[in-house]
């Protein structure tokens, strides 16, 4: 097996003492950056690049460190989701849904440990996929044209009902709001300004990091202020020590495997990415487990699925980057820029011409994940201790970090004001029990969905039939329709059955 031989060479590089040390530093810094609300993997890697140059690191070492930062940030995002109900970055959004309820039930340590394990499994599955399937998958991704992408995004929205589905009307309303926000900015297909009010900062639309931090973090603070006005703070979250038994690990194992595969596929498609990966894994898992689970109320599988999904997608996003030289996300764009500065020409020949570097990255990915798992389990105790800080001290600190994080991305006071506005809106929506996740989803997927629909229309002179013009798009439409209809049919049957029991 030539592949194994090449991978072993990669490991040889990755396991030297110096490289190992930088991988460790990368993992640690990455986890920290990922955990901070606002800062995600792209920022983490961008922050570390100058350091790599300042230290004069050789190419392999620099790449190993940056890959570790990338994986670390994907792991770190879950920490604030679980402990504070504030996603550290956008793919960690889905982890809030079950992670935070678990923490409130005193199972924060368990949630953190299990999600670290799920992240590891998801990443491992995807890395194996990357090793053996990368060249084939890269060609598959090329078969996605505008119509196929549009069908894919419709599929994502079709499964939306499964997310926070107490009241489907409110979910649809929230998604609609997200889509509406997504239309703001200069319209790429015509050059027209939409809802920009001639404000320069709105020309490129609304940054979803600003929206996420506002909707989740600021609204959390407002809720807290309201709940404790003048009075003594509410009862602290109780913390049970970490208890991990084999049964709970076995429970999340199939979930993590499925999440890893789905995330990987989402990551391979440029533009879809980690958020879609974690979202689809969560909704699918909820469907599979069905009424036997208690998703949304602290089901361990509800944290395993999105975490495996987004870590799988992180590795999957390396497929188009390494095989085609095309970055599917902001983070891989930064990594690619780094590769280029080491004399690597991006393009379809990268895998053959620069095999040593490519395999070095893959080996670093595996190594980084093992390190992260080893690093994260003992750190659980420290993270959980965060919760022993009374909320009246903790929340202001978190808010401060959120302000710094958002300011660091764009250095714009306008964004800070915008974030507060989103916070107020988030507070009102939470009061009205309108779910926040579909808003972000609409904002994330809306622009791509709109762009692809309009491209289909442009190419085929407004012929709507071309939306299902290829077998691939027909397949995607079928899955989307099934995703919409099946719960409607099966739901009552299931409920009837439960009623009989």
């Amino acid at each position: 097996m030539e592949t194994i031989g090449l991978l072993m060479d990669g490991f040889n590089t990755a396991l030297s003492l110096e490289n190992f040390l930088y991988a460790l530093i990368g993992c640690f810094v990455g986890t920290l950056i990922g955990a901070l609300p606002g800062l995600g993997p792209a920022n983490g890697v961008a922050i570390m690049i100058p350091l790599a140059f300042t230290l004069g690191l050789p190419p392999e070492t620099a790449l190993i460190m940056l890959t570790s930062v990338y994986s670390g940030a994907m792991y770190g995002g879950r920490i604030s989701s679980i402990l504070l109900n504030i996603p550290g970055d956008e793919p960690a959004m889905m982890t809030c849904l079950d992670g935070y309820p678990m923490a409130r039930q005193g199972k924060a340590a368990e949630a953190l440990a299990l999600s670290a394990l799920a992240s590891f499994i998801g990443s491992l599955v995807a890395t194996i996929g990357l090793i053996f399937l990368a060249p084939i998958l890269a060609r598959f991704a090329l078969s996605f044209g505008a119509a196929e992408y549009f069908a894919l995004f419709v599929l994502a929205f079709a499964t939306l009902g499964g997310v926070t589905g107490k009241n489907p009307v409110k979910s649809v309303l929230a998604a609609g709001i997200g889509l509406a926000i997504a239309t703001m900015g200069i319209d790429l297909s015509t050059g027209t300004q939409r809802y920009t009010f001639n404000v320069l900062e709105l020309f490129e639309g609304v940054d979803f990091i600003v929206a996420i931090v506002g909707l989740f973090a600021i609204s959390e603070l407002l809720l807290f202020i309201e709940a404790n006005k003048g009075a003594a703070p509410r009862g602290e979250i109780k913390m049970n020590p970490l208890r991990l038994n084999f049964a709970s690990i076995r429970q999340i194992l199939p979930t993590s495997l499925r999440g890893g595969v789905l995330g990987f596929i989402a990551g391979v498609l440029p533009g879809a990415g980690a958020s879609l990966g974690s979202f689809v894994s969560y909704t699918l898992e909820k469907r599979i487990v069905g009424s036997k689970g208690f998703f949304g109320e602290g089901d361990p599988r509800g944290i395993a699925a999105p975490e495996a999904g987004n870590n799988g997608a992180a590795a999957g996003a390396l497929v188009p980057m390494l095989t085609l030289g095309i970055p599917g996300s902001a983070t891989t764009a930064v990594l690619l820029a780094m590769l280029v500065s080491f004399n690597i020409t991006p393009g379809p020949l990268m895998f053959t011409q620069n095999a040593d570097i490519v395999w070095g990255v893959i080996a670093a990915l595996l190594l980084g994940n093992i390190l992260l798992l080893l690093l994260n389990i003992p750190l659980v105790g420290i993270f959980v201790r965060l919760l022993s800080i009374p909320p009246r001290y903790l929340l202001p600190i978190v808010t401060m970090v959120a302000f710094v994080g958002v300011y660091a991305i764009s250095r714009s006071v306008f964004d800070l004001c915008f974030m507060i506005a989103f916070g107020v809106v988030g507070y009102i929506f939470r009061k009205a029990e309108i779910p926040l996740v579909p808003i972000i989803l609409g904002m994330l997927l809306g622009p791509e969905m709109e762009k692809n629909l309009r491209h289909v229309m442009q190419i085929h002179d407004g012929n709507w039939a071309m939306l299902w013009g290829s077998s691939l798009s027909i397949g995607l439409w079928c899955i989307a329709v099934a995703g919409l209809i099946i719960p409607v049919i099966i739901g009552p049957i299931m409920r009837a059955r439960i009623g009989k029991q």
Partner: protein, 331 residues
């Protein structure tokens, strides 16, 4: 002080004969932390420009100057431009990355209330030539065939590019068609993708007919045979091994569309400070390190500095404004 002297000697020896009146040798005018504003997120062309010039200046000054890249996304560079003319008006320790995308937006008044005369243009250090390419199985076998098809029916061919409608990639194909005498330019189907990479995959995957892009992002696919290049939009050939692609001028079309990478700085800095940047950027761009970086990134040499560059930019804005009016993008 040792390092300082060393730097002074190095700078002096590099710029001797160019600017003899400045007397930089005595004490370097600008030291310490310098900001380079990349008016977009991490990973794009401006980000690259800032990060590579940062590394160059740092090595070149033996660590006397450390360049910090500030990503300032928004309004296609407009937020960074506005920041420069309002908050940094007389700051001599700041540069901002720019390219043809900046001049195209300035030409079309997409930065409201701002124009190219509000900053000082320091210099360009390289360029990414425009390129037109098709899928390897495409029936369009030459630029002539493409033009012929467009003349028969402007909407019979689809184009993919990275910029928005009216942006640089769109202008490239409109300029080409215009100079070939194609009428009814508004009917040309140009599809905008957010980044060059996606545009390339759509053409390689056979979903779109023609790619209008830059050499750097299509190079790998041309070498692997997935893309067939039709023309380089300019006077000179690309570097080997892609030096066999014909230029637009060889094919009889008067189109020059290459995306330069350069910098501007605030308007109200002293002449001395401006000249310091001009000569140092120039010297840094002549190092072997930068030449290597250019080759790796598919950039071609292009150097224009100081007043000459300032004039070039203002002229480009003017001519892009004229073209945009002529082809109906602005009124």
């Amino acid at each position: 002080m040792k390092i300082k002297t060393k730097l002074a000697v190095a700078t002096a020896s590099l710029i001797i004969g160019l600017t003899s009146t400045l007397g930089i040798a005595a004490e370097p005018l600008i030291t310490g932390k310098v900001d380079c504003i990349a008016p977009a997120g991490p990973g794009g062309g401006w980000d690259f420009t800032c990060r590579s010039i940062g590394r160059l200046l740092n090595n070149f000054s033996n660590g006397e100057i450390t360049v910090q890249t500030l990503n300032m996304p928004g309004a296609g560079g407009g937020v960074g431009f506005a920041h420069m003319i309002t908050k940094r008006r007389n700051d001599s320790k700041v540069l901002a990355a720019a390219s043809t995308a900046t001049t195209a937006r300035l030409a079309q008044n997409q930065f409201p209330g701002m124009n190219s005369g509000m900053v000082r243009w320091v210099g360009a250090i390289g360029t990414d030539p425009g390129i037109i390419a098709v899928n390897r199985e495409s029936e369009i076998d030459s630029l002539a065939t493409l033009i012929k098809k467009l003349k028969e029916d402007p909407s019979s061919v689809t184009f993919a590019g990275a910029s928005a409608i009216g942006g640089w990639d769109h202008l490239k194909i409109l300029m080409t068609a215009h100079s070939a005498g194609v009428s009814d330019l508004k009917r040309i189907k140009y599809l905008s993708y957010n980044n060059g990479g996606t545009a390339v995959t759509q053409v390689v995957g056979g979903h779109i007919d023609v790619l209008v892009g830059v050499a750097s992002s299509s190079k790998g696919f041309i070498e692997s045979g997935d893309l067939r290049p039709l023309a380089v939009l300019g006077h000179s050939h690309l570097s080997p091994p892609l030096d066999n692609i014909p230029t637009s001028f060889e094919l009889g079309l008067d189109v020059e569309a290459s995306n330069w990478r350069g910098f501007y700085m605030p308007k109200e800095v002293s002449e001395e400070e401006y000249q310091w940047w001009v000569s140092n950027l120039k010297a840094a761009s002549q190092t072997d390190e930068w030449k290597r970086t250019m080759v790796q990134n598919g950039l071609e040499p292009f150097s224009l500095f100081g007043e000459e560059f300032d004039q070039f930019v203002n002229k480009q804005v003017e001519s892009l404004a004229n073209i945009s009016k002529e082809i109906g993008i602005i009124k």
